[in-house]
Symmetry: C2
Subunit: 333 residues, 2 copies
């Protein structure tokens, strides 16, 4: 822990701590303590310095730094053992791949405050404005065949729902297969990238990447995206702490990945069936070639596939990536 | 084409070209021509300047630059349409992944003169010393399901054998599944990395990475690697042109990838069966848990699997990545 983190820990309880005490606890000169406090202020920490009494932390900023995320984080098995926070990056998924190339630790979490080249499926852009979202990727080296990893993306979607419920008190729905939604709009984008050794099909690593819209206003999105995307703060009409939400998400991902490795997904299948906003509704199925078909969404099968009943009354299961599912008139409805 | 490349093209035929002529053809001042010639000399081009007569190219260096590779390259369909040469990089596979993240062109070839973090399968180090090898990766966006891409690595091995045969006059053997070998030692390492969108299993991109040992002496390898690795120059006892070999490899890869996309691999299966140094020999099969078993290598099946006959006389097929194959006493024999 560096001196800034130590000072933060000592000030966390809201107590006033004298410069002499801080200096003694840190083994640093009074002027070094002063410098560290100044640096914390620059990061947005509101620290009082009352002459003759000492320092007091009035408020911590809503910033995605390792100390702020870690402070909110409970014990984890694997995911979150290492956390790397950066202010800006091209893409946190790419950062994880770069880490993988040099043998980065299993379970490393990379969080950015903004992305300049955030990407979704099919190489679509994922808009990642500064200070507004949580852009997080995890580097994992699973000892599982690729087909066992297919549920990872939907698990990540469930984890986002659970983390939002814990921190915000409202549980989003899940648009099949894995999109957390609130009031009919997307809160989150998820792109899981799986790297395999080509000749054997052995999984080298997998990187789930999650972007949660936390504080965007409609003007932060491009007009096309604004039609189907929203943010937590906008829908809930209040501020949401990004470090707390990031920490809750790390805990949920850690638990879900453990379940995936054990092959025990019953709890997550139940959650998906409860959260899925499509079940019981009429949906449009859109093929990659643009063909559209109406059907009734009936339920989820054991592998998280969507069971639909078509016009002839026949039931079939569709898998993520095969077709897009939309509402009759819009994204969900 | 920049002015240096234009000058090189004008001097290629061995003719002496006056400074005035160069200046006219390039639309540059005499002193700008002089600067470009000086820059070429710094790159290792041996250029004569006879006062009153002009410039003459005496010898081109054995360097992996785009103009040198392109000069040796015939027409290609896809692979090699874009070529990026760098002097040093962490890993050309990683460079291709980075390109993929920003939508780099299909078929882009990245070639490095040295790698600081070259990797093989299972995250093993691949030693990539400066000026000694060809370290090449290709960025491909195949419109194929992942299982159709499994042969790509063995095709790359066959391509290396064909390129070496064309440039050096000697065809290496192929140690199953995909290692080009000469005199019982490895000439080349291949790592194909396949990136999939995790929830659908759609292939986002695939990057075959190929490292050919061209000019290493045994002292260039670590002692453990030197036991089973060698280089073309060392075995053939003469210099080999790296840009010519790189160009031949690009042409072979372009042809092989086209065959893979068409699903017409008969020619490559024939080549593999001819090149495979294990067939007809007794081999050791080494499981991931270290268990060893002797068997006779009998042939290749239609999917490039190795058919072996075990002690009981039963035949079975082993797939790349399932077990390692070694000779009874060493790497091959």
């Amino acid at each position: 822990m560096n001196s800034r983190e130590t000072i933060l820990n000592l000030l966390r309880d809201g107590e006033t701590v004298s410069g002499g005490e801080l200096s003694r606890r840190l083994g640093l000169s009074r002027s070094a303590v002063w410098k560290a406090v100044s640096a914390l202020r620059q990061d947005g920490y509101d620290i009082d310095a009352a002459p003759g009494r000492g320092y007091r932390l009035r408020a911590a900023p809503d910033i995605l730094t390792e100390p702020e995320v870690r402070r909110a984080l409970g014990p984890v098995r694997l995911i979150g053992s290492t956390i790397v926070c950066v202010d800006e990056t091209a893409s946190t998924n790419l950062d994880c791949k770069r880490l993988a190339a040099r043998g980065g630790a299993n379970g490393t979490v990379v969080i950015a405050n903004s992305q300049t080249a955030g990407r979704g499926r099919m190489n679509r852009q994922f808009q990642s404005p500064k200070d507004k979202g949580i852009y997080m990727s995890v580097l994992l080296y699973p000892d599982l065949p690729p087909e066992r990893l297919l549920p990872l993306t939907v698990l990540a979607g469930v984890c986002v729902c659970s983390a939002v419920e814990r921190v915000c008190g409202t549980r989003p729905g899940l648009k099949w297969p894995n999109d957390p939604v609130l009031n009919g709009k997307k809160l989150c984008g998820i792109l899981t990238e799986l790297s395999m050794e080509g000749e054997s099909g052995r999984v080298a690593y997998v990187v789930p990447g999650i972007g949660i819209n936390v504080a965007q206003t409609p003007g932060d999105f491009s007009p096309e995206v604004a039609e189907m995307a929203t943010s937590l703060s906008w829908e809930l009409k209040r501020d949401i702490s990004r470090p707390r939400l990031a920490a809750a998400l790390i805990e949920e991902l850690d638990r879900a990945y453990d379940a995936l490795c054990r092959g025990d997904l019953a709890e997550y299948l139940d959650a998906c069936r409860r959260d899925c906003v499509n079940i019981g509704k009429r949906v449009q199925l859109i093929s990659p070639d643009g063909r559209r078909e109406e059907a009734d969404a009936v339920g989820l099968d054991e592998a998280f596939g969507l069971t639909v009943r078509d016009a002839s009354g026949a039931e079939r299961v569709i898998r993520a990536g095969e077709v897009s599912v939309r509402g009759l008139y819009g994204y969900i409805e």
